[in-house]
């Protein structure tokens, strides 16, 4: 009890400190120089409408490669740690109800389609590879909920994942050879601003990221769902 009261006092003091730091905040009337550079140069440099996507995929593309690597490592470690706990005896989980099964059949294709739409249009509208990948994985989650006994193809998932990852790095290297540098999107023509097939390699790279992220999340979810209920 004393520990909780102390914790409460501590966090309240921290909260007060934090609130006083932010009390002088006033919103900016205009963009700072770095952000203004991106806002003014993205359209003619890269041909992408979504500034966030342009920065993530091209200007700071190397960071995104690192980010995808973090996710890959996480998926690998989750699989590794949980592989020891998977027992030989198949457990009998409670099957999902009729409503869930029918809903899953109806919704899963639509969810997957939405995910693909989100990452293919990442350079034009809000969203992109990470968001689309998460939506794809939520479709997989629905399938796992509806039919927990269904054997899950880890092989297919890892093929998709490694293929997308390899192609991503190869496209980056192609940028080194054909355009300005690693992960430069101008290896493909920039096209007409605002069209689906524009902004050079950005839609291709972001689709690959979407597939990779979706596959990684799906493999984490499947690994967690295959652990035994104690």
């Amino acid at each position: 009890m004393i520990k909780r009261a102390l914790a409460l006092l501590l966090v309240l003091a921290l909260g007060g400190l934090f609130a006083s730091l932010m009390s002088a905040y006033a919103p900016d009337p205009e963009l700072n120089p770095t952000a203004r550079y991106y806002a003014e140069h993205t359209a003619q440099d890269l041909g992408a409408a979504n500034l966030v996507t342009a920065i993530i995929v091209t200007y700071r593309g190397l960071d995104t490669l690192g980010e995808v690597t973090v996710l890959f490592l996480t998926a690998a470690i989750v699989g590794l740690v949980l592989a020891q706990s998977r027992r030989r005896i198949p457990h009998q989980p409670v099957p999902g109800g009729e409503l869930l099964a029918t809903g899953t059949r109806l919704l899963t294709p639509l969810i997957l389609l939405l995910g693909v739409y989100v990452f293919v249009n990442g350079h034009l509208t809000p969203g992109g590879g990470f968001q689309g990948g998460a939506i794809l994985a939520s479709g997989v989650l629905l399938v796992l909920l509806a039919d927990p006994v269904k054997p899950f193809s880890h092989g297919l998932i890892s093929v998709i994942e490694s293929l997308a990852g390899t192609l991503y790095v190869l496209i980056g290297l192609a940028g080194l050879a054909l355009a300005g540098g690693f992960l430069d999107n101008r290896i493909l023509p920039l096209g007409e601003f605002g069209q689906l097939f524009s902004a050079g390699a950005i839609p291709v790279i972001y689709s690959l990221i979407g597939l990779k992220v979706g596959a990684e999340f799906a493999s984490m979810l499947a690994s967690l769902s295959e652990t035994e209920d104690l």
Binding site: L14, V52, V213
Partner: protein, 132 residues
């Protein structure tokens, strides 16, 4: 009457700092859950709440007065700052990764100890040490 005057001067202040109030509230409650709860899953939930406050802390100042979402279009001239969005997208992905790892370790601990309550795990550890 005086209450109405006080609230009319307080209200714009409150609206201006609305995102900060939410940020501090989420931060404090997340941290409290992490410290006060013994259940490892609840600790992870607290960690996620705390992370959400950090996302909000970065995203909210990216708003420029009169600015739209940072997506170029001919009819808009003022955009919000895209850099916090980029940073926080990375933070969200890494946050999901840490959450998945934490849940995985919780599953393993449950298998090894039969519980995910922190104090019970510590007691079991102490017991094992005494028996040695």
């Amino acid at each position: 009457m005086s209450a109405a005057v006080a609230s009319s001067s307080l209200l714009p202040e409150l609206i201006q700092h609305f995102s900060h109030i939410i940020t501090v509230f989420l931060m404090v409650s997340g941290l409290y859950i992490v410290i006060a709860r013994g259940n490892l899953i609840k600790k992870l939930v607290g960690l996620s709440v705390f992370q959400t406050s950090v996302y909000l802390l970065y995203i909210a100042p990216g708003k420029i007065i009169g600015g739209t979402a940072p997506i170029l279009a001919s009819q808009y001239g003022v955009y919000s700052n895209p850099l916090p969005h980029v940073l926080i997208l990375t933070a969200i992905v890494v946050g999901v990764a840490t959450l998945a790892l934490g849940l995985t370790l919780a599953v393993r601990l449950r298998e090894a100890y039969g519980t995910i309550e922190e104090d019970e795990i510590l007691a079991l550890d102490q017991q094992a040490e005494l028996e040695e």
